[in-house]
Symmetry: C2
Subunit: 108 residues, 2 copies
């Protein structure tokens, strides 16, 4: 049973930095690149790569505008991203429930 759960865990979301980005976007609705950088303590290049991976998967949208005459990059979660995060959470929840139940030992 647990075998399928692991293989179906969404790698795009599971990477710690991307799990953090998705959670922040779901919590706050949206976040600027600057805020994500501050929270995650990542370099521009590293954060940029994670943001691109989520954007390419269709899980977030990236918008650029100006705020107080400075360029601003804002990330927003998409409906596909919400769904993917829901599935990811559900998979982990099922895994946790299974480990809590604790099947009898089996030394194959």
């Amino acid at each position: 049973m647990s075998d399928d759960l692991f293989h179906s865990l969404d790698d795009t979301i599971h990477a710690k930095a991307r799990l953090a980005i998705m959670s922040i976007l779901l919590l706050d609705g949206a976040a600027t690149f600057g805020r994500l950088k501050e929270v995650l303590q990542l370099t521009d290049g590293n954060l940029g790569a994670h943001v691109r991976a989520l954007e390419e998967a269709g899980y977030i949208e990236v918008k650029k505008d100006f705020w107080e005459r400075r360029p601003r990059t804002t990330c927003l979660v998409t409906s596909a991203g919400r769904q993917a995060f829901g599935r990811y959470m559900e998979t982990l929840q099922r895994l946790f429930e299974a480990t809590r139940r604790g099947d009898p030992p089996d030394q194959a």
Copy 2:
């Protein structure tokens, strides 16, 4: 709030392969190297590296014996491993609960 949750997520457990190993050991009590390899579809070298990382963290114990005249390597979860997995689950649960509550949008 969520900031602390991410930083406290146990990296030793979070890596997908190691999360899988820990869950299998918690589900089944113990597992042979062969069974882990089959479930996770990893090479000997790759699985060996993950097993060593968990062993070095004190989360699992590795025992070697013979079974049907062949060498057998068995992994068992330790009490420290159980505790670490419990903390990891708790951290993720809190994260999930926070994202479910959905705080009001805040475009900082």
